[in-house]
């Protein structure tokens, strides 16, 4: 009965909260003499399955804003953060952005979760000459010819895929099976993985897609098993991760599995029972791909600083890849400092300089190698490593609580 009482309490709270909530929350302080530097972020608190990514992403932006403001803001201008309460829905995001444009043009826009939001707002931002830090992998925002003021923050799928190659070599895997979902990113991953593996002389014996809304993966896994690969490379986030692992165990298929970075963001594989599957037979063949920042390193000052900030703001759900927004803010600050201006074009130009994008104090990747030809970080091979699943706390493995 406790559950019910809590629910009714929640309901009462929801109703009481009615008058208390405003539309767009405005955070940050504008204390400096100069006009604040306005950053808008696609936010919300209920984005269905990607809720955790969205909330953590927005918190990471807040943490970034705090860090920069403490250090004196962007060239002396304090950052004012405007949240667009769109729950990662593209139509609502466009509504929010257009409404904000009519009121006060933001200087920069950050998307932390939701590829479709990025696709929807990118042309508007481009047209209005607004700096855009995009956590999603989008081809057009990686291309400075199309969108000179947009930057992708996430590692390109190619880097994510290429980092598989050393493992294949070390373990002697020849025949590769690929299993991926049907979200935009998952499809890109699936296609790219096949191409890259083939380019490097590996045989792709199966490349199977699953519907991320499906409740059972037996069919897909059976199809892959019939192709008899040496290793299964897969992408999944949330419940499908569990369905894949359960399906493998059910079929009694003893094959090494290499989960892509999104798998590491799924608490199901990084939490101990009863909440997760850690330590159970389901994950005994599994290794997951993580970036360096996800493994705790007491020497990584910038990363640890960001994690500390995030802890105060409610912690990190999933892995460090969800914290790219923090780096987005720091990159803007670094670009502005180097350019000596807060003009969007000047910042964008400065960010193409390795001295700037490599020394911004960023947390997830130490440097974001942008160039005049590409606004996608050309991260070196070896950015990601494969580790057996381990408990992830506040986005990191091996950190003390």
């Amino acid at each position: 009965m406790i559950g019910r009482r809590a629910r009714w309490a929640a309901l009462a709270a929801a109703l009481l909260a009615l008058p208390a909530c405003g539309a767009a929350e405005e955070a940050g302080t504008a204390g400096a003499a100069e006009a604040p530097y306005v950053i808008m972020v696609s936010a919300g608190s209920d984005a269905g399955p990607v809720t955790d990514q969205l909330i953590t992403g927005v918190n990471s932006v807040k943490a970034g804003v705090e860090t920069v403001n403490e250090a004196g803001g962007i060239n002396g201008r304090q950052i004012k953060l405007i949240e667009s309460p769109d729950n990662a829905n593209p139509t609502k995001a466009v509504s929010g952005l257009r409404a904000q444009l009519a009121k006060e043009k933001p200087d920069a826009y950050i998307v932390t979760a939701g590829t479709q939001v990025s696709s929807a707002v990118a042309p508007i931002l481009n047209q209005n000459k607004i700096l855009f830090m995009n956590s999603a992998n989008l081809d057009e925002t990686a291309d400075p010819k199309q969108h000179p003021l947009a930057f992708n923050l996430a590692a390109s799928p190619r880097v994510v895929v290429e980092d598989y190659l050393p493992v294949f070599e070390a373990e002697g895997y020849k025949k590769i099976g690929i299993l991926h979902g049907n979200s935009p990113y998952a499809k890109t991953f699936g296609e790219l993985a096949e191409t890259v593996f083939k380019e490097n002389g590996y045989e792709v014996v199966g490349n199977v897609e699953y519907d991320s809304a499906a409740l059972d993966m037996t069919a897909q896994i059976s199809a892959l098993r019939d192709a008899a690969p040496d290793v299964v490379v897969f992408n999944a986030y949330g419940a499908p991760t569990g369905y894949v692992l359960k399906g493998m165990t059910k079929l009694g298929w003893d094959v090494p599995m290499l989960g892509e970075t999104s798998v590491a963001s799924t608490p199901l594989v990084t939490q101990e029972p009863p909440d997760g599957l850690l330590g159970l037979p389901e994950v005994k063949n599994l290794k997951i791909e993580v970036n360096a920042a996800t493994v705790y390193d007491p020497a990584a000052e910038a990363t640890n600083k960001a994690v500390e900030k995030m802890k105060a703001l409610g912690g990190i759900k999933g892995a460090m890849v969800n914290v790219l927004g923090y780096d987005g803010v720091l990159l803007i600050a670094a670009g502005a400092k180097s350019a000596g201006s807060t003009d969007a074009a000047a910042i964008a130009k400065a960010l193409e300089d390795p001295k700037v994008n490599g020394n911004a104090g960023t947390a997830v990747y130490g440097s974001y190698p942008y160039s005049a030809d590409s606004h996608e970080p050309k991260l070196p091979r070896g950015t990601h490593t494969f580790v057996p699943p381990a408990p992830i706390v506040n986005g990191q493995m091996g950190a003390s609580k």
């Binding site: 009965m1 519907d211 419940a239 569990g242 199901l268 009863p274 909440d275």
Partner: protein, 285 residues
């Protein structure tokens, strides 16, 4: 064989939703859009019982059944009874289902939660196919439930009353059937069953807030293929959808699994417009 087991167990999940729709539909001609959400809550309560409260399995089953029954009873009181016409009930039950999804997200978050299952957690080999014990449990439960309901409605006066009411509410009133009480009990019973089903479904699908909408749609399709108001139909429809989905995903690719199910639906409707087990009525003047 493995694929057939997978199809059947998945189909059993759909069939269980369809059965829930049917009980309410037969008893009160209303369509309970929140049915799948009730099952989702059942899975979450099973999780809470096992993990949060650490209860023994029997207590977990009872807890899940009672909690979901109470929720379903509340639903009948606030979302169904005050609304006279069935069309508006679609909206109010949809609203109730949305509230349940929202509350589940608030309480348990959006990440999938592992629901333990009594007995062996290992998959077993049966007649040349691999299957989890809880998957067999699901299939058996769906079949037993349908046969049970069938026997009950045939033998018991109450069951007859439900059938009488679905045929003609006015006539049922004249014959002394308490229609309101019956509708209320129908909801309570579906709640009870949804709680039980949640207990069995959880280990297969995890407890996750999106479960409701995924199940609602497929349960409806199972119902459409099997025929409205028929329990055997719901079962057959569920198994059909499950099997077709698995085989289409295996041999055609996952983007064709919905399309294949749709093709089957059209085929069934062409041959039997009222569904596999729906009753054909000659037009009356």
């Amino acid at each position: 064989m493995t694929l057939i087991y997978a199809g059947l167990s998945l189909g059993a999940v759909y069939a269980l939703v369809a059965i829930g729709y049917n009980i309410v539909f037969v008893a009160s001609r209303s369509f309970n859009f929140a049915q799948a959400q009730l099952m989702m809550i059942g899975a979450f309560v099973a999780y809470a019982g096992h993990v949060t409260f650490g209860l023994p399995a029997v207590a977990v089953i009872v807890l899940a059944m009672v909690v979901v029954m109470v929720i379903a009873a509340i639903e009948e009181r606030i979302a169904v009874r005050p609304v006279a016409d069935h069309q508006t009930q679609l909206i109010t039950t949809l609203g109730f289902g949305t509230v349940l999804t929202g509350l589940a997200q608030l309480i348990w978050g959006t990440q999938p939660l592992e629901v333990p299952f009594i007995g062996s957690k290992e998959a077993i080999t049966l007649a040349g196919g691999r299957v989890y014990t809880f998957e067999i449990g699901l299939i058996v439960m769906a079949v037993v439930l349908v046969v049970g309901i069938h026997l009950y409605t045939r033998r018991r006066l109450n069951g007859l009353a439900v059938v009488a009411m679905s045929q003609d509410a006015e006539a049922a009133v004249l014959r002394g059937v308490n229609v309101r009480m019956l509708a209320f009990s129908a909801f309570a019973v579906t709640g009870l069953l949804a709680g039980l089903m949640g207990f069995f479904i959880g280990p297969k699908t995890f407890a996750v807030a999106t479960l409701g909408s995924a199940l609602a749609l497929k349960g409806f399709v199972a119902l459409a293929i099997g025929g409205f108001g028929s329990f055997y139909g719901g079962l057959a429809g569920g198994f059909t959808v499950g099997l077709v989905e698995e085989h289409a995903a295996r041999y055609l690719g996952s983007e064709f699994s919905n399309l294949s199910v749709f093709a089957i639906l059209l085929l069934v409707l062409m041959i039997r417009p009222t569904g596999l087990f729906g009753k054909v009525q000659e037009r009356m003047v």
